[in-house]
């Protein structure tokens, strides 16, 4: 059965979508069948894997609103082994529509459950808010991956998100685990980056991934170009870091199951 990872953070611009896209690509590159589900109405993960939002026939919204079976919304990408369920702007409506649904926190979990057996990993990219979509993503997930930008203010939203995740675990998804906290946008020359890494390692210990994602113009540009960095420049440090992260998650998962 596939492992579902929810990538979440309250803040925007911390590397959520970059992580979702590049981690998904790395899993696929390693040979793991991977499905990336874009749950953010901004649709950055959708364009990040090279899809044009204008040309989409079906999206996650169609499945969520009962207009299409979820299987029909799954699309191929340029990376073998990586598929995607895209979104576009209309997904903004999902938040409101979910409000009136019975069992509203479990809609996504029920929707994607038939897909679990088809993939090794299912990655959920979430919007930077704690609305019903994010609650649905955390309720559907087996584990939570939190990208933490190497900046002081990022720490405050980390605590908020952890409190929220604790609540979701208590009330909606008792099997939710913390996959890990991923330090992103690390700049070796910046004292702040060094302080954040030191503090995270001191307090959060093994909850922090060993892999650290560097601040990288290449990662930013590859997202804009609609290609995971692994596809455009596999030797780039950013691409290698995400590959390293994929291996680390696979090892952690094996240890948990052992």
């Amino acid at each position: 059965m596939g492992h579902i990872i929810c990538i979440a953070n309250l803040k925007g611009g911390v590397g959520k979508t970059t992580t979702a896209v590049n981690l998904s690509a790395s899993f696929a590159f390693i040979g793991k069948k991977t499905l990336l589900i874009d749950c953010d109405p901004q649709g950055s993960a959708t364009t990040g894997v090279g899809l044009s939002k204008k040309k989409l026939a079906l999206t996650l919204y169609d499945a969520l609103s009962g207009k299409s079976p979820i299987e029909k919304t799954v699309l191929d990408t340029d990376i073998e082994g990586l598929k995607v369920i895209p979104v576009r702007g209309e997904f903004f409506r999902a938040e409101l529509e979910l409000m009136s649904r019975p069992n509203k926190e479990n809609v996504l979990r029920n929707l994607i459950s038939p897909l679990r057996d088809c993939y090794d990993y299912i990655i959920l990219d979430t919007p930077p808010s704690l609305g019903l979509v994010s609650i649905n993503a955390m309720t559907a997930a087996d584990s939570l991956l939190i990208p933490l930008q190497c900046e002081f203010l990022a720490y405050e939203s980390l605590v908020q998100l952890l409190k929220f995740a604790r609540l979701v675990k208590k009330r909606l998804n008792s099997s939710l685990l913390l996959a890990g906290i991923l330090l992103t946008m690390y700049d070796m020359g910046e004292k702040t980056s060094q302080q954040i890494v030191a503090n995270a390692r001191k307090h959060l210990k093994n909850a922090v991934f060993k892999t650290v994602i560097p601040r990288s113009a290449q990662l930013r540009e590859s997202s804009a170009q609609g290609k995971p960095l692994l596809l455009s420049d596999p030797d780039a440090v950013g691409a290698k870091s995400y590959l390293e992260l994929a291996h680390e998650i696979i090892k952690r998962k094996a240890r948990t199951l052992a």
Binding site: F152, Y155, V159, L162, K205
Partner: protein, 107 residues
């Protein structure tokens, strides 16, 4: 008082010695020491402001004073009220780290 040496010559010799000491300083190390000692980040070149020969623990020492360009900040809220350092992100990072640690343990 019986003068046994020329004051100007002594002063010149002392200044020359201090100049040689200043010239021999490993500025990279000095910068690191000052940054560590005062927990600051020096954003510009270090400049010697003053130097003197002193007695430290009954031995001759050299006291070199530096002038550094510092970028310091003060935080205030929308009402113009000063926000103390322990309420700034830098100040409470350790506290937040501890809080996050507790929540993770519960999970």
């Amino acid at each position: 008082m019986t003068k046994v040496a020329n004051t100007e010559v002594l002063e010149k010799a002392r200044n020359e010695l201090l100049e040689k000491v200043k010239g021999a300083l490993e500025m990279k190390e000095i910068r690191r020491i000052l940054e560590d000692q005062h927990n600051l980040e020096i954003s510009d070149d270090l400049e010697v402001h003053n130097s003197q020969i002193i007695i430290h623990n009954n031995r001759i020492g050299y006291k070199i004073e530096f002038e550094v360009l510092l970028s310091l900040s003060v935080l205030l809220d929308e009402n113009g009220v000063y926000i103390p350092p322990d309420e700034t992100p830098e100040g409470n990072i350790d506290q937040l780290g501890g809080l996050a640690e507790d929540i993770i343990k519960e999970m």
